[in-house]
């Protein structure tokens, strides 16, 4: 049924990772000093398009403009500041070792590789760890108000999967503060006239001229007008594709379209099945639900995850006959602490999520749907409270006094998260444990890029969550912000120069060519089709149905039968979509349904590739758990002999038959071990 994996006979020359020679720790420095530069006088004759204004795109656009290039930046949001990086909560990692707990560039590198289950490219990850410190310096200089201690220096906390405290934070809204930092840098360049900002614009396609990326077609979401924009290089920084699941922690508008359009123009798409299900989100409560809300991983520093030991207690809790606070200590199963004593509640996200699913599937879930576990702060409130009582000379034995003090400490650390939880769930987590369940949060897979962050299309670069490069099969907490800013501030602005050095005599790119015309016509045809077809089902219907298929068969655990069925279901759904979708209104006006239809059309294609990729990878690694590949204890079983590679898929013109290319992963300075957090 067309489900044989189509594997390339020999390694494509396009798939050269271009990792420089030499010692791992010297590669980036050497590379930077050897690649070609573009002189300031020539930079002003070169145009670059950046799609997306989150941490990666915003920082790249600002930095490229500072360097002297002419930048056009695009975002679909009404302001560059609102890109979804803004919603990141917990923090950003950097190997500063301010705490003095033995952290180093090597350790950050090692933790990231191990956390990614040895499925990321060693040299890229080392570079990420190397530039991490600089990010913090840069952000402080920009006026990002990180948390500080009483001595006035920066404070750190710890995150999952590591044994040091290297996470910098700004309460529970580190993402917003970093995002506003790069937005301010972007604004400065807009004011200088070096960046032209196009908000409420969506990239509709990439335009290639003689095999090189030379511009995009954009759609003004307010007027519906299609526009041609030429440039010498195009940078895609459009974020992850988690919204393929419909329900996720992503913003409603987050989409895969920019990445998908370039895939269909020749960029390889890598490891699409590597998606991250975050363990601590507010559980689903009904079918009308549009969105899932993350409760930051930082909460696992102080919250303990449990379900009742007795299945009877779990049932009574679900039926509201037993309050969780009335379950005695010895009747609670702190299952992460039980299974993983070394890391306890701070195991990486994939491990924590699967453990929660295992308990719920076994019947121990604690909310009405049976899909929830507790995240309990009682122990932490007590511990902090006693500490405070002792320090201030109050009665350490009086629970009323110390619990009150403890709640104040918890409030100072997580106040906004607790408030957010209370508003959504209508329960007070200072007094009763939170209920949480895993939800889709991040996608490690994405557009394949080489060491220079260039895709397999010349002149088309891809940065941040949109690319595949640094997190392997699982991302550690507080590393997404680090990667976005590393790519945008410190990597791409150097590496893009090497490519553009050939373009100093090219002159402006004309959009008055047949390539632009063809691309524009194609989009017009698709849009007209949506508008003219008076179907009977809404775009959301298709999106929700797709999301359910992917969640059920390509979510936290996957098997061959389910995946094969999913591929077929997605194909049928796609057919139905093109026959029966209803898009009201016209194309020459603000039309959110039309914008959504264009995005869902791409998700319907991506979903199939995800399932095919998951089908191909018969091992379990990181966020990808194949039921056929597990140990007797139910832990993920990796297969290094057969799968130590990046699966890079090439579009062949036939969506059902993508071509698999393999980038073999070689580890020079790290010993590949089985990943244990026991």
């Amino acid at each position: 049924m067309g489900l044989e994996i189509n594997t390339a006979k020999k390694t494509s020359i396009k798939l050269s990772s271009k990792v420089p020679q030499g010692k791992l720790s010297d590669k980036w420095t050497t590379h930077k000093s050897r690649i070609r530069l573009v002189s300031p006088a020539n930079k002003r004759n070169i145009d670059i398009i950046v799609v997306g204004t989150g941490l990666a795109g915003g920082s790249a656009a600002a930095t490229l403009a500072e360097l002297g290039y002419n930048v056009k930046a695009f975002c679909f949001q009404d302001s560059a500041r609102r890109a979804h990086s803004i919603a990141a909560q917990g923090g950003i990692n950097a190997a500063k070792n301010y705490v003095g707990d033995g952290d180093s560039v090597y350790r950050l590198f090692y933790d990231t590789i191990k956390g990614g289950d040895y499925r990321s490219r060693e040299a890229n990850v080392y570079r990420l760890a190397e530039v991490s410190s600089n990010i913090i310096d840069q952000c402080v200089a920009q006026g990002v108000p990180f948390a500080r201690d009483y001595g006035g220096l920066l404070d750190n906390r710890s995150f999952g999967g590591v044994q040091v405290s290297r996470t910098f934070y700004a309460k529970g809204q580190t993402g917003q503060q970093l995002q506003l930092g790069c937005y301010s840098a972007l604004n400065r360049q807009i004011a200088r006239g070096k960046v032209k900002m196009y908000s409420r614009h969506e990239m509709m396609d990439l335009v290639l001229i003689n095999g090189k990326a030379r511009g995009i077609i954009a759609r003004d979401l307010v007027t519906g007008q299609l526009q041609r924009h030429g440039a010498h290089a195009v940078v895609i920084a459009s974020g992850g594709y988690g919204n393929v699941f419909y329900l996720s922690t992503n913003a409603m508008g987050s989409n895969v379209s920019a990445g998908w359009k370039i895939y269909k123009k020749g960029a390889f798409f890598a490891n699409p099945c590597f998606t991250q299900i975050h363990p601590t989100c507010i559980p689903v409560s009904g079918t009308y639900q549009s969105k899932l809300t993350l409760m930051s991983e930082s909460l696992r520093n102080d919250g303990r995850i449990w379900v009742p030991k007795s299945i009877q207690d779990a049932k009574m809790i679900r039926e509201n006959q037993l309050a969780p606070t009335d379950v005695p200590e010895e009747q609670r199963d702190y299952f992460l602490e039980r299974r993983y004593p070394a890391f306890g509640n701070l195991v990486p996200r994939d491990v924590a999520s699967r453990a929660a699913k295992e308990r719920c599937d076994a019947g121990y879930g604690v909310n009405i749907t049976g899909d929830a576990v507790f995240l309990d702060f009682h122990s932490a409130i007590k511990r902090y409270g006693k500490e405070q009582a002792h320090l201030t000379g109050l009665d350490e034995t009086n629970p009323e006094i110390y619990m009150d003090l403890g709640r104040k400490v918890i409030k100072s650390k997580y106040g906004n998260l607790f408030q957010m939880y209370e508003k959504i769930v209508d329960q007070n987590p200072y007094y009763t444990p939170m209920k949480i369940y895993p939800a889709v949060h991040y996608t490690m897979g994405g557009v394949w890029v080489d060491y220079n962050l260039m895709t397999t299309i010349d002149g088309c670069f891809c940065i941040g969550e949109a690319n595949f490069s640094d997190h392997g099969a699982n991302r550690l907490g507080a590393s997404a912000l680090m990667q976005g800013l590393a790519d945008g501030y410190f990597v791409l602005p150097y590496t893009i120069g090497d490519y553009l050095a050939d373009d100093i005599r090219t002159g402006p790119i004309s959009t008055d060519t047949k390539e632009f015309e063809e691309a524009e016509d194609q989009i017009k045809t698709q849009i007209d089709r949506f508008i003219k077809q008076k179907g009977s089902k809404s775009v959301d219907y298709f999106h929700k149905t797709l999301g359910r298929i992917i969640w059920d068969f390509c979510g936290m655990s996957r098997n061959e039968k389910g995946l094969k069925g999913a591929v077929q279901k997605i194909r049928n759904l796609r057919e139905d979509f093109y026959k029966n979708v209803s898009v009201p209104g016209t194309s020459e006006q603000y039309n959110e349904e039309l914008a959504k239809a264009c995005r869902v059309a791409d998700f319907l294609e991506l979903g199939e590739l995800m399932a095919i990729d998951a089908l191909n990878r018969t091992e379990s690694c990181g966020g990808h758990f194949r039921e056929e590949s597990q140990t007797k204890q139910g832990e993920a079983l990796r297969d290094d002999e057969n799968f130590m590679y990046v699966a890079a898929w090439e579009h062949t013109g036939d969506l059902q038959n993508p071509l698999l290319h393999k980038e073999e992963l070689k580890f020079q300075e790290i010993e590949v071990k089985s990943r244990s957090y026991k």
């Binding site: 949001q77 009404d78 301010y98 402080v140 920009q142 006026g143 920066l154 307010v222 008076k534 209803s582």
Partner: protein, 244 residues
């Protein structure tokens, strides 16, 4: 729950708008306010009508995209939440809810409940930044110790999400709370002090140019601000402006 709605519909920036009534009868208290509007839009689409346009994105109260003037209040009846964090349990069965866009000369309507807030971007572009390049050649992040109290106050000011509720709530459509939050964030940090005088001058000038009104100290902005940005910031901005 049964809910009646009175919603502002306006085809585009040039058309005249009007209120249109709708009725919904399958609303549950756990739904968010925006999910209630999703339900309405599903109904409109299935009956061949044009859905109501409204701005929203993160739906967790941080991106600042959602707006809405609900029963005469920016972001609805609750304090310290955005519209996307408002839930239907806050309303009663049979209630009529009036929904309008954020109204201000500087926020023209694009369609229905969607407004153009790019004036906020232009104010930021006029000086809401620290002029350093992103070269990475800055000094170590811990080279300057910043008193925790200052860092915390700077952070509090920086929590502004730029939604525009302050403008919508103000009878003068003043943007003073928004601008002063940005001015304060930087003025409280040693890194931001260098340009503080020019910054406040330029940002205030742009604010006036955009057509925002003046502050007459009613404090409505502080009450309606979903992030609880304090009026103190306006006082600080005035001080910075006068001494600048």
């Amino acid at each position: 729950m049964k809910i009646k709605l009175k919603i502002w519909r306006q085809e585009d920036s040039k058309s005249k708008g009007r209120f249109v009534r709708y009725a919904l009868d399958s609303i549950t208290p756990e739904m968010s306010f925006l999910e209630m509007l999703d339900v309405l839009n599903e109904q409109l689409i299935s009956s061949g009508d044009i859905p109501v346009a409204f701005d929203h994105d993160c739906r967790e109260g941080i991106c600042g995209t959602c707006s809405l003037f609900i029963n005469g209040r920016a972001h609805g009846p609750d304090r310290l939440v955005t519209t996307c964090q408002l839930h239907m349990r806050r309303f009663n069965d049979g209630d009529t809810i009036v929904i309008e866009p954020f109204r201000s000369k500087a926020f023209p309507v694009i369609k229905d409940l969607v407004v153009d807030r790019s004036s906020f971007d232009r104010i930021q572009q006029s000086g809401g930044y620290i002029s350093i390049n992103t070269s990475g050649n800055t000094q170590d992040a811990n080279a300057i110790a910043i008193p925790k109290a200052d860092a915390d106050r700077s952070f509090e000011a920086a929590t502004c999400i730029g939604c525009g509720a302050c403008v919508a709530a103000c009878k003068n459509a003043s943007a003073m709370l928004f601008v002063s939050a940005k001015v304060s964030q930087y003025a409280l940090l040693p890194q931001g002090k260098v340009e503080a005088k020019n910054r406040v001058k330029n940002m205030v000038a742009q604010m006036d140019l955009e057509g925002f009104g003046n502050c007459s100290n009613t404090g409505a902005c502080e009450i309606e601000c979903p992030k609880g940005i304090s009026l103190e910031n306006i006082a600080r901005m005035n001080r910075e402006y006068l001494f600048g």
